[in-house]
Symmetry: C2
Subunit: 392 residues, 2 copies
Amino acid sequence: MKVPKGFLFSTAQGSFKYQDRDDLALIYAPEGAVPAGVFTQNVFQAAPVLVAKKHISQCNLINAILINAGQANACTGEKGIQDCEETLRLLSKTLEISPEFILPASTGVIGEFFDLKKWEKAILELRENLGKVDVGKVARAIMTTDKYPKLVSKCLTLDNKEVHLLGLAKGAGMIAPNMATMLGFILCDAEVDRSWWQSCLVEAVETSFNRICVDGDTSTNDTVLALSSGKVKGSFCEDDLYRLKKAVKEICFELARLIVQDGEGASKIIKLTIKKAKTRQDARNIATTIATSPLVKTAFFGEDPNWGRIVAALGRSNASFDPQKIRLFFGDIEVFGCGVAKLEDIDVWLQGYMQKKELDLVIDLGAGEEEYFILFSDLTFDYVKLNGSYRS
Amino acid sequence: MKVPKGFLFSTAQGSFKYQDRDDLALIYAPEGAVPAGVFTQNVFQAAPVLVAKKHISQCNLINAILINAGQANACTGEKGIQDCEETLRLLSKTLEISPEFILPASTGVIGEFFDLKKWEKAILELRENLGKVDVGKVARAIMTTDKYPKLVSKCLTLDNKEVHLLGLAKGAGMIAPNMATMLGFILCDAEVDRSWWQSCLVEAVETSFNRICVDGDTSTNDTVLALSSGKVKGSFCEDDLYRLKKAVKEICFELARLIVQDGEGASKIIKLTIKKAKTRQDARNIATTIATSPLVKTAFFGEDPNWGRIVAALGRSNASFDPQKIRLFFGDIEVFGCGVAKLEDIDVWLQGYMQKKELDLVIDLGAGEEEYFILFSDLTFDYVKLNGSYRS
């Protein structure tokens, strides 16, 4: 896997929560990189989110992202902010950069305070390992309940130069016993304009990380950061920029898909597309209502083509449509339309289809021109097991 | 259990879905009763809902409620309406009353059509059994995935006369493999004014059936009907009416509580109270967001005092509050306030409390004067098992 130029990586064992693996990671751009960031909309924002937002708004270039797994540093008040800043100060000293040029990202149990002694030790180890580990180790160090690391790369030729993109993410629902936490990092080596880079990330997040649903719960820590080192300089034309944006979108989408695939306990990925909605808001409401319905999610787990549950969720979504015009498809097969069932032997027709790991669900509202999709996982025994178990 | 005067009951075996039990029930008021009704808000409304709404709007007195379990007669289009009307016609012939004076209520699998031959036979049996069965048999006949029948009665003295109230309900989440379906019936023998009776039911539903959450899914069939036979005549004073309304509310609340207790797979009932909200809408949004969060629900199943998940759900509820002013209590114990954890050893403090079957959760928003409560169940293995299994 080719890595964008201008970045070094490191990991260390902080033992914040996990005892037998690296749980601290560093993405380092010695000569700085153009940053972009998208953060959780939750009212309760974790200390690292508040600090990262501040730094990203103040600095044109960023040198490092410091990520820990196991502790979210959320709901920790003023002390949480101070602790976060202290970890950046420790890193800034050892790297000889300003703390403002570092973005923090944390994931894990909320409400707990950092043990700064552990951080001191781990940051020394981070310094020692700098440049000696590959990005795969970073992807593994940021994992919490993830079953596997999530890493995607892309290479494209712009203005006759090779540009590399790399994305890594963590997320699987939530960390036991705490909350949904997804972190995503996109690295690139093209020379980009800062505001274009930010809009590029915002657009990519909108059609990827904003379109996935494991359990409908958002967290205090959700963060997606993008850094572009500018090592590949060029006079990129409009078409180049279009292709670069497309590549960022594809990387984010693939990472998002991997998160749903790895969703806690998930056995299926369902892509739900809402077509011909009157408004985009309607389409989104319907998609979210269906994707978070426990009845719909358990039916997919049971491989039961239970369209009644989907129609019922649709009916309580507060969207505007004519029930008589609704058409519902499993794959290419229409199961419901004009207010009634379209198939008599639905179980026979759909048995094979329901056994697939990735399914397509399409709802045509016949009400307008808007379209929206969402990827969601099913609700399984393992979900309950993972999230019903005691903290340990 | 004393039954309000003026009502007769019957049940029969229709074999609509269940083969070894009664699944058709009749509540019969030979001399008529004043009706009131509250129905599902779902856009997809089942045939019996549409027909019952029509009849209730056209008739001042109602003679009968005809209820079947196993088939919802929902998403069945015009044929579903005709079938529903045909069942009423069959009953009206045998009882020698007008079909308009009968209210239908169905619960069960959606999308399937009635087999009218089965209905013909079952309605004859219903006629034969009329007056020979007690109301307990009716409560059992309307069950679907319910583990037990739900029946509550009350007696009060108004204007020196004994007034009897009786309520029965079915609901446990949804019928496998279909949707949440709750039906409730309140019977009374006091002489009441029709519009007062309707407002009394609306108020009672608002603080009972509208305050419960098993999985957040509403159905095409939800129906609560109240009939008062007027057999106990009197000049009820304002205080009498106040007490009668209070009794209807208590009956509905107790039935609602029984539904949550019997919630599919439920092992706990949690009463969540939102205090000092700026607006009622805020309080309701917060209560619903928390009560439907899979993370919160699985934590209660795991007896884990996982306040981080509750705070995270609160933070995505779109309600207006100052995060610093939030106080969160498990029973009397404050676990979160001023933005930070209030207890260091929360597991020690709350271990005993979390093992209770009924828990109290209180959130003080410190933002205003509005208050709202909701009763919800936890999310368990058995929920997934019940709802993930194939139709059979």
